[in-house]
Amino acid sequence: MKAAVIIFPGTNCDRETRKALELSGFQVDYVWHEWDSINKYNLVVLPGGFSYGDYLRPGAIARFSPVMKSVEKYTIEKQGIILGICNGFQILLEAGLLPGAMMKNDVGHFICKTVKLNVEPTKVFYKTKREVELYIAHSDGKYVADPKTVEELEKNGQILMKYVDNPNGSVHSIASIANVTFNVIGMMPHPERSSMKYHKNLDGLEIFNALKEYIHACDR
């Protein structure tokens, strides 16, 4: 199973994400944001970091990178699964591939810590344990959307993870969502930071393993 890790100028979680995906059994390639060929991959990951220095708004400039045209096509043609982690999630929101937006954390500062998350029993993570602990590291992690969108997300089971203690003030404690066709996934927590033995917590690897099973199920 092949995965692409897209690198924008300012991306900084690419290597750890690649390593975690490899541990999960993916064959991984880096894809530079000016390239536009991603159709051979089963999974395309937009990793965390500060693409374009987070200038303007996080993800606002990266969404106009050449590779994003291919990501849109890949999504529409359902060629595989797109996963945006942290800044990757912000890029997917800016690109309109996921509903809603991110704004500054309610606490008014950058948060970097391990948080407890409830993994919702959706078709993406149906086998995963229901409570995991993952890292978050963001300034703009407060997920917002209009009440109708949030209602739709709840109704369709598009909310994949919720914070137990909602550290950033996200509406309905949302930490991860999928689009309505479940081929675009965004999550603020960093599963790649809890995937290696030295992390002493493998909850993130479990998330990647679940994703791999989900891709298998979609291919069948």
């Binding site: 303007l56 708004r57 606002a60 106009f64 800016e94 809603g100 937006a101 704004m103 500054k104 954390n105 309610d106 606490v107 008014g108 917002v144 959307a145 209009d146």
Partner: protein, 81 residues
């Protein structure tokens, strides 16, 4: 011809902005009688176009598509002399 524009982007009124709230609270602590505080960004630029109408529509497109996020923000477009 060259036309100069200024675009002001700020949070939509129904969105709580922690940055504005923090600044407002601090000013109140200093006993300034402030309220309804908002924080935004200003973008000044010029556009090369055959007419003002054409330049204005390009500026509006830039504001809608790139400089603001319609989920959170509103913008005001002004022509500068």
């Amino acid at each position: 011809m060259k036309f100069r524009f200024s675009i002001k982007v700020k949070m939509a009124p129904h969105i709580f902005d922690p940055q504005a709230s923090t600044i407002e609270k601090s000013l109140k602590k200093m006993s300034y009688p402030v309220g309804d505080f908002a924080v935004g960004k200003v973008f000044d630029f010029s556009i090369e176009a055959p007419s003002e109408e054409c330049a204005r529509s390009i500026a509006k497109e830039i504001a809608e598509k790139v400089l603001s996020n319609p989920v959170l923000e509103t913008f005001v477009l002004e022509r500068e002399e």
